[in-house]
């Protein structure tokens, strides 16, 4: 390298992006969302308003005799709804298909020209975004819910740690699913179809519109194990309201971890195929 103030090329040598690159990308993801404060306010207000609506519907189905429904009591159900409203923002269940748009317009080639693959770039940024969402979009609905209703507080200390792990895994599962929807643009260009399918299935089978335990038990277990949707909303909330023993909770974490590994591997494979298509056919 020459003097300090020149544009001389970097001396040829081994140089590879380190973990700092991912931290910096995550910080940028955090900062990006922190820039739009009004959007954050709008989102938490919306999530809170819908919290009232959803909880009102839930109360209507509670069995008057046992004061429970599908194994949840009144307080657990309140927590399920309000923490769920916060979780939507953390996992970012509904996001604009930005990456699909980059594929459609061809901007994705600038992502390919970086020394880090596009999926890792997006994942790091998404984790940064999720960090910001925990501080804003999760906290506000939970506080609102706690002020107005009697929420269920976990009895076991370890539940908090398990819930934190589960939320992280849920974020990764949700990221992967969204990524797959977006990557469909390599072949379809317009991803409104897959996007709509994801929105509907994740809401119905993921525990957002109602807990999956409202389905017959066999179906609920089948959904939890055999589909990734409950790993996004249902499992973290079941862990938070301590449905089942610590062993069951650990088992649920295992299910989530399994989906994370499977889906990230699938994302990587799809990205490779998509890149191959782009690189060989020229998009």
């Amino acid at each position: 390298m020459r003097g300090d103030d020149s544009l001389a090329p970097h001396a040829t040598g081994s140089r590879a992006p380190s973990y700092r690159a991912y931290l910096a990308l995550a910080a940028a993801g955090f900062q990006r969302y922190a820039t739009y404060r009004q959007a954050t306010v709008a989102a938490v207000v919306t999530n809170s308003v819908f919290g009232f609506l959803r909880f009102a519907v839930m109360l209507a189905v509670i069995d008057a005799g046992t004061r429970t429904v599908a194994g949840y009591d009144n307080r657990q159900l309140a927590t399920f709804v309000w923490a769920g409203q916060g979780l939507i923002g953390v996992v970012l269940l509904w996001a604009l298909p930005e990456f699909a748009e980059r594929i459609r317009t061809g901007d994705v080639i600038t992502d390919l020209l970086r020394p880090i693959d596009p999926m890792s770039q997006l994942l790091a940024a998404d984790l940064g975004r999720a960090g910001y969402a925990v501080l804003t979009r999760f906290v506000v609905p939970v506080v609102v819910g706690a002020l107005v209703f009697d929420l269920y507080a976990p009895r076991r200390q370890v539940t908090y740690a398990l819930f934190a792990c589960s939320t992280l895994l849920a974020t990764l599962v949700c990221f992967s699913c969204r990524y797959l929807v977006n990557a469909a643009a390599y072949w379809l260009l317009d991803v409104r179809g897959p996007q709509t399918a994801w929105t509907l299935t994740s809401g119905i089978f993921g525990g957002l519109y109602f807990p999956v335990w409202f389905f017959p038990d066999a179906m609920a277990i089948g959904l939890i194990v055999a589909t990734p949707f409950p790993s996004v909303i249902q499992i973290p909330l079941d862990i938070l309201v301590e449905r089942g023993s610590p062993a069951v909770q650990l088992g649920l974490l295992g299910v989530q971890a399994g989906w994370v590994v499977t889906l990230l591997a699938l994302c990587r494979w799809v990205q490779r195929r998509g890149e191959r298509k782009l690189v060989i056919q020229g998009g």
Binding site: M1, G3, D4, D5, S6, L7, A8, P9, H10, T12, R15, A16, P17, S18, R20, A21, L23, A24, L25, A28, Q31, R32, T35, Y36, G106, D107, I109, T110, L112, L113, R114, P115, I116, D117, L278, V279, I280, Q281, G282
Partner: protein, 322 residues
């Protein structure tokens, strides 16, 4: 040292054409049709051609985002597509029509992020950034989010972003497109200085031939996927018969036309009192002037240098040299 080396480079695309209610015919179109190119370290090469000639396709193959259908290509000794991420550390790319900056972040933060993404040592980064800030006048908008920058400001940011990791080769795809005159001049002056330093290899595609005149000693012209000229601008003029022109104003029309080798009358106006001669270089302009002075009373003369736009337009429309 050869930095860019390509031979027999070819890229075919499949195009589907509607040929009936449901039937589609597939046609193979070669966007790049057997290109050989060799660029030495520190060279600044202008790569021009009409729309659809295959410029961007070549650039994409050289940077590793498009796989050649045939032929060999090496950039910095690497195979672009299989070794794309390694190559990314050693090249910089600016696409005039796309942005590599983070839309929501201030320019300053985009640059800091790039430092980590490319694992650039802090002092090296600071040195290069200081250099760009000075030459490209970035200070006024360093803290403005990219989405609020004007096109000229953004392009200066893009150039900086492409250079912060100290690339050995800089690929520029229409870097002055849509810029106003002042911004164009700023970008050109910056690139001229970078080229003069002599250690960054630059490949520039453009439709603005003033870019080429100002910056590139070597010019590669591509048309319909093939290289039709590779050499200096002067060689291009010589080859395609671009001519200097001499316009003379006389008091009276000439009694008899002048006969000098390599001199032709292009037009006469004002009843023969204004004559435009085209010179192919066989006879010097001075000789023509002295013959004219002998033959008639000369009132005014002006010499027109060959126009690059003209010669390139002729090249594009494939008008053969006379």
């Amino acid at each position: 040292m050869t930095v860019i080396e390509a031979s027999g480079l070819r890229k075919e695309f499949t195009v589907r054409v509607k040929s009936g209610w449901l039937r589609r015919r597939t046609r193979i179109v070669a966007a790049v049709d057997g290109i050989a190119l060799s660029v030495e370290r520190g060279e600044m090469v202008g790569y021009i051609g009409p729309n659809g000639a295959g410029k961007s396709t070549t650039l994409k193959m050289l940077t590793g985002v498009l796989y050649p259908s045939a032929g060999q290509v090496r950039v910095c000794g690497l195979e672009p597509v299989p070794q794309r991420t390694r190559l990314a550390l050693r090249i910089g790319v600016v696409f005039g029509q796309r942005s590599q900056l983070w839309w929501d972040l201030p320019l300053r933060d985009s640059f800091a992020l790039l430092r980590h993404v490319y694992a650039v040592p802090a002092t090296e980064h600071a040195g290069r950034l200081a250099h760009c800030r000075r030459l490209l006048d970035l200070d006024a908008f360093l803290d403005v989010p990219v989405r609020q920058l004007s096109l000229g400001q953004r392009m200066r940011g893009e150039l900086t972003a492409a250079l912060l990791h100290g690339p050995e080769v800089l690929f520029l795809d229409e870097p002055t497109i849509g810029l106003d005159l002042v911004s164009k001049q700023a970008v050109r002056a910056f690139l001229a200085a970078l080229g003069a330093a002599g250690d960054t290899t630059i490949l520039l595609t453009t439709h603005d031939l003033a870019d080429i005149e100002r910056l590139c000693r070597r010019l590669v012209v591509i048309d319909q996927g093939r290289i039709v000229h590779d050499g200096s601008l002067d060689e291009l003029h010589a080859r395609y018969g671009s001519r200097r022109r001499l316009v003379v104003d006389l008091d009276e029309p000439l009694a008899a036309p002048l006969a000098l080798p390599g001199v032709t009358v292009e037009s006469t106006q004002a009843n023969g009192r204004r004559i435009t001669y085209a010179l192919d270089g066989t006879t010097a302009a001075g000789d023509l002037v002295s013959r004219l002075v002998e033959a008639a009373a000369l009132r005014d003369i002006s010499v027109l240098e060959p126009d690059i736009e003209d010669v390139v337009a002729r090249l594009y429309t494939r008008q053969a040299a006379p």
